[in-house]
C-alpha cells in the first residue's frame, strides 16, 4: 500500500507539472488579453506598456517565464503575484480556501445525503408513485444549470431578494469561525444548488445499481438464509451497489469544483472559484495559473483518496 501511495503521488506531481505547462501554453498561444496593456490603461503610450511588460517579465519567451515560475514554485512555493493588483496569489488562494472548502464539502454532503437515500427508496419501490416523482424530479434537477437554479433559489428563498426570505442573502457569507449560524445560513442555498444536479444523477445511478444487485444470486441466498430484508439491502445489496458510486464520486468532486465556480459567482461567496473567474476576466495569468493548479491538485488528491477507500469497500481490490 505504501509503495502504491508513493507511486501515485509521484504521478500526481508529474500531472500537476503538465497542467501548469499547458496553462502557460494556452495563455500564450490563444488570443487572450494583453496584461501589460490592461494594466497600463487607455491613454498609456506604447513605451509605457513595453516598460510594464518588462517589469512583469512578460517580454521574455514563454518557456523562460515558465521556468522562472516553476523555480519559484518549487523552491519557495511561490505562486507569483497578480498582474492586476500585485497581491500574492498564494495568500489570496489560502485566504479564500475556507470559503471554497465550505461550499464544496457542504455541497458534497448535501449531494450524498439527498442522492443516495432517494436512489435507495426508488430502488426498493420501483415503478411506484414515489419512485416516479423522485426520478422525475431528478431529471429536472439534472437539466437545470447551476446558474439558473442559483438565481431562482435566491429569488425564492434568500433574504433581501426572495419571496420567502428563509435563507441568507447573496454576499452574506462569513467564515464558520466568526459565526457558525450565519455561516450555515449563508451557504444553505449554495449547497443545495451545487448538490442538485449531482444528487439527482447519483439518485438515478444508485437506483439502477441497487435494482441490478438485488437480482443477483447472492442476494437470493441471503434472503434464503432468513435474513431480514433491511439487512439484505444494507449489508449485501448496498455495499456492492455503492462501490462504483464511490469511484464516480471521487472523479466528480472535480466537477463539483467546476460547479463551485458558478455557485460562488451567483451567491457571491469569496472563494477560489470567484477568484478564478475574476482572474480570467482580467487576463491575470499568475492568478489563473494558481487556481488551475489548485483545482488540479484537488482532483488528483480526491482520486487518490478514493482509490485507497476502494480497498476498504471492495475486498477483491489489491495494490501491487
Amino acid at each position: 500500500m505504501g509503495a502504491y501511495i508513493v507511486r501515485r503521488t509521484l504521478w500526481a506531481i508529474l500531472l500537476l507539472l503538465v497542467v501548469s505547462f499547458l496553462t502557460f501554453v494556452i495563455f500564450n498561444v490563444f488570443p487572450s488579453a494583453d496584461p501589460a496593456a490592461l494594466r497600463a490603461g487607455r491613454n498609456a503610450t506604447p513605451a509605457l506598456i513595453e516598460q510594464i511588460r518588462r517589469n512583469l517579465g512578460l517580454d521574455k519567451p514563454f518557456y523562460t517565464q515558465y521556468w522562472i515560475y516553476l523555480k519559484g514554485l518549487l523552491e519557495h512555493f511561490n505562486l507569483g503575484y497578480s498582474y492586476y493588483n500585485t497581491e500574492s496569489v498564494k495568500s489570496e488562494i489560502f485566504s479564500r480556501l475556507p470559503a471554497t472548502i465550505s461550499v464544496t464539502v457542504g455541497g458534497f454532503v448535501a449531494w450524498m445525503l439527498i442522492g443516495i437515500p432517494v436512489g435507495i427508496i426508488s430502488a426498493i419501490k420501483p415503478r411506484s408513485l414515489l419512485d416516479r416523482i423522485m426520478m422525475g424530479g431528478s431529471l429536472v434537477a439534472i437539466s437545470a444549470p447551476v446558474y439558473f437554479l442559483g438565481l431562482v433559489s435566491l429569488f425564492l428563498f434568500a433574504q433581501g431578494t426572495g419571496v420567502l426570505q428563509w435563507a441568507g442573502a447573496a454576499g452574506s457569507y462569513v467564515p464558520i469561525t466568526q459565526n457558525p449560524g450565519t455561516w450555515f445560513n449563508s451557504l444553505i442555498l449554495a449547497w443545495l444548488t451545487l448538490a442538485a444536479a449531482f444528487a439527482a444523477f447519483y439518485a438515478r445511478m444508485t437506483r439502477g445499481n441497487l435494482i441490478e444487485v438485488m437480482h443477483e444470486d447472492y442476494i437470493r441466498t441471503a434472503r434464503a438464509k432468513g435474513l431480514r430484508e433491511s439487512v439484505v439491502i444494507t449489508k449485501h445489496g448496498l455495499r456492492a451497489a455503492l462501490t462504483p458510486i464511490v469511484t464516480m464520486a471521487g472523479m466528480d468532486i472535480g466537477l463539483l469544483l467546476g460547479g463551485a465556480i458558478l455557485t460562488e459567482i451567483v451567491f457571491n461567496i469569496p472563494g477560489i472559484g470567484r477568484y478564478a473567474y475574476d482572474a480570467i476576466v482580467n487576463a491575470d495569468l499568475p492568478a489563473i495559473q494558481g487556481t488551475v493548479l489548485f483545482g488540479a491538485f484537488f482532483i488528483v488528491f480526491a482520486n487518490l483518496v478514493v482509490d485507497i477507500l476502494y480497498a476498504f469497500l471492495d475486498p477483491r481490490v489489491t495494490y501491487g
Binding site: P31, S32, A33, D34, A37, L38, R39, A40, G41, R42, N43, A44, T45, P46, A47, L48, I49, E50, Q51, I52, N55, L56, Y81, S82, N85, T86, E87, E92, S95, L151, L154, F155, Q159, G160, T161, A169, A170, G171, I265, V266, N268, P270, R274, Y275, D278, V281, N282, A283
Partner: protein, 577 residues
Amino acid sequence: MRRRNAVFVGLAAGALVLVAAGFGNGGNTSGAQGKKGGTITMLSNGDVDHIDPGQAYYQFTYAITYITQRPLLAYKPNSVTPIPDLAASMPTVSANGLTVTVHIKHGIKFSPPVNREVTSADVKYAMERGFDSAVANGYASAYFGDLVGAPTTPQNKVPNISGIQTPDKYTIVFKLRKPSGVFVGALQEPLTAPVPASYARKYDKGTASSYGNWQVATGPYMIQNNAAGKITGYTPGRQIVLVRNPNWNPKTSWRPAYADKIVIKEGFDPTVGTKQILSGSADVNGDFPPPAAELKSITSNSSQKSELEFTATSGSRYVALNTRKPPFNKLLVRQAVAYVLDRNALRLTRGGPIDGKIATHFISPDFGSVGFNQAGGFNFNPFPSAGGSGDVAKAMALMKKAGYKSGKYSGPQVTQVADNSPPGSNTAAVVANSLAKIGFNVKTISVQHAAMYTRFCNVPKNEPNICPNVGWLADFHEPQTLLDPTFNGKNIIPTNNSNWPLLNDSAINKLMDKAELELNPETRYKEWGQIDDMITKTAAAIPWIWETSPTLYSTKVTHASELWNGGEPDMSFMSVK
C-alpha cells in the same frame, strides 16, 4: 478611464443628468439636508481597477478616490464645473498660457499614520510618481506631458520634473512647453491628490508600487487601516471599507460627509444586486447598471421609479471601419455603411430607448453646450433614415457611385472582431446583418472583450476591417479628451491605439492641433464642434448611441449622482434618511 459597466472603455467625466421620462430626483441630490451618521452600502460586480489613487483610471474607482483623496479641483455631485478642492482658488493662467499657478488650502492634513499638514511638495511628488512605470498612471503623459522637464520615455524611478515648482509650502507653479486647452481641466484628475514623499517613497520603489496598500487620505473618508498604515479595509474582489478620516477638517471642505461608514461589497451579480437595493438591504449600485429587464420592471413601478436616476455619459458607442484596408479605404463605401446601419436595432441590443438616444455624431448632447451645439446639435445628422433603421436605397446608390454596379458589394469577405458575449456579440450580429443588405459577407471573430481591444482593435497591424464594439468617453469636460485620442492621425500608435478607424485626415489633424492650443473656451469649443462635424462625415466611425447610465438608490438613502462621472453616486453627499 474605464467605464462604469466595464463594457466600453474610454473616459468619463463630463456628463449631465438626464432625468428621463420623469425618473430620478427621488432624494436629496444636493445633500443639503442630510442626516449625520449611519452606514452606506454600495454593491458592485467587479473590483476597482487600482486602489492606488495615482493608478486609478476607472469611473467606479473614482467614486471612492474622490471621497478619500483631495485633488486640486473636484466636482459637486450635481455639477460638471470643476471647483477648488485642495486648491484654495481656481488656477490662474498666464497670458501666454505657459504658466499655471495654484494656491492650496492651509490646514489640510494627511490621515494617520502621517498626520502632518499637506504642502505643495506633496502635490509635486504625487504628479511626478505618475511618470514612474512602477505606478504606471494611464493618463500622466497625455495631460501632463507638456510640463517642462516631463519625461518622454517611461521612468524606472520617480522623476524630478522641473516644470512643477513649489516656491512656498502653499503654492505650486506649472511651467508648460506650449499652451494647452486641457491642462487646467486635467487638474481635477486624482493624480493631483497629494502623496507624502517621505512616507510613500519606500513603497514606490521596485517594479510595482505598493503605496496603494499603505495609502493615506486627505478626504473625509479613508480606507480602514492599522496603526502602521497598512490598509485593512480593502480585500480585492470582496470588500472596501471606508471610515472617517480623523484628520479631515470640515471647515476646509464643501463635502458634507454625512455617513460614518461606507462599505462597498463586491462580487454581486447585477440582477441579485439590483433586487437587494430594491429591498433595502443595500443602498446603491457601483459598477454595474441594473439589467434591462430589471430597469423595465422598476420604471413601470410607481414606488420604485423615483429611486432610479439616469445620467448621460459623455461620449458614444460606435462602429469603427478600418480606413487603411479595402473596401473601407473608400469614402463612398464607408458612407454607404453609415446609411445602411440599423442604429435602432443596435440600440435595442443595449436595452432600447431607455439606454439613450440614437447618436448622429460624436459629442454627446449631455456634454452641455461644450461642442455639441457647435457641431450642429440634434439637427446634425449626415446619414438620416426613418427611425434610425437604415436607408438601404441611399446606401445602394452610394455603392453604385463607388463602382459596384448592382449597388451591392461584390468583393472578398470582410472581417470583424467582436465580443464573445452579449451585449457586444449581439451588436456585432446587427452590424453583420445590416451590411448584408448591401452585399457584404461579414466574418465575425469572437473573443473576450479585453482581448478584442488589446490583441486586435488596439493593434493596427492586427486590426480587422470592422471593430463593432468600440466607444469612448471624455475624461473631463473638454471635447479634446473625446475626439483627439480617437481620431487624430498623430495618435495612431503600434499598440494601445485608440484611433480605431486609423483615420489620418490632414485637414482634421490640422484643426485639432490648432484647437489643442486654443485658450479661449468659446473659440475652442467652436473648433471642436467643427471637428466633430468633419469626423462624422468621413464615416470612418459610425456612432449609434449617446448612452445614459442608471443609478438605483434604496429608499433608505438620499440621492447624489455624480453628473461629471457618468452617474456614479457621490457617497460623501448621500445620507441615510
